[in-house]
């Protein structure tokens, strides 16, 4: 039997690593993937607490998170394709028009 806190800590660590990847990846796709990693970490916490309370709401939320992640991936990858098409580069630092 595994204490819930283990799962929670694991999810915290994964989330942190996701954040690190989010900062240090420079390929847009990889950055996207690190976001997915963070989402997964959150899901883990959800399920862990869900089991801890013996209620199913947590799992329902995980399902929602997954669906939203799917939608986000669809749109995001579409955007990525556009970026690649327009500036022939996937490096975020070359996409620096997001300012006044």
């Amino acid at each position: 039997m595994v204490p819930t806190i283990y799962y929670v800590i694991l999810s915290a660590i994964l989330f942190g690593m996701g954040a690190i990847a989010f900062i240090f990846k420079q390929n847009i796709i990889s950055i996207f993937m690190s976001i997915e990693l963070m989402l997964n970490a959150v899901n883990l916490a959800f399920v862990a607490f869900n089991q801890a309370w013996g209620k199913l709401d947590g799992q329902v939320f995980v399902l929602f998170v997954i669906v939203v992640a799917a939608a986000e991936a669809a749109v995001g990858l579409g955007i990525i394709i556009l970026i690649q098409r327009n500036r022939q580069s996937l490096n975020v630092e070359r996409v620096d028009q997001l300012k006044l």
């Binding site: 799962y7 915290a12 660590i13 942190g16 690593m17 900062i23 399920v47």
Partner: protein, 167 residues
């Protein structure tokens, strides 16, 4: 050291390794593969916790659809090894410490919270998929509808984005 603990530590190690390799791999495909590893490991953890349906969905949707999409796009754009530029002072200077701080703060908060976190009422008991779906379609029906709408919008958005403008 019970069997479930051993399995947990194996899977956890797998997940963390996967995440680490996601950070350090230079090639998107490899990053994607390591992310898939993480996801499979998480699915295993869900199974260990008895959330079998979520585990399956995790693999089917995340592993089978989303990540495939990623791989697909990587192949489509023929993305090569990512180049490392350091235009962002902010990231290059404050990046590491901040990220580590975030991880630390989170983990520390969790550890501090440790004793207060209740342990699974009945560990490893498989949560019933039927009840889950009932919950999903009764209490959470409005969020459910909303998400369906969101997905629809996402499909349209993706199509609009990805199609080449016709002359």
């Amino acid at each position: 050291m019970s069997a479930s603990l051993i399995i947990f530590f194996l899977l956890a190690a797998l997940a963390i390794l996967g995440a680490a390799s996601l950070i350090f791999q230079r090639h998107p495909i490899h990053a994607a593969l390591s992310l898939i590893v993480v996801m499979v490991a998480l699915a295993g953890l869900y199974l260990l916790m008895g959330a079998e349906f979520v585990a399956a969905v995790q693999i089917i949707v995340y592993g089978g659809a989303i990540m495939v999409l990623f791989v697909f796009v990587i192949m489509l754009l023929n993305a090569g090894v990512e180049e490392r530029t350091n235009f962002s002072k902010m990231a290059s200077i404050a990046g590491w410490p901040l990220a580590l701080a975030l991880t630390g703060v989170l983990a520390a908060a969790m550890v501090r919270a440790g004793p207060t976190v209740a342990n699974p009422a009945n560990p490893g008991m498989l949560s019933d998929t039927a009840t889950l779906s009932t919950l999903l379609f009764t209490d959470f029906v409005y969020p459910f509808e909303l998400t369906s709408f969101l997905v629809l919008v996402a499909i349209l958005g993706a199509m609009v984005l990805a199609q080449r403008e016709q002359k």
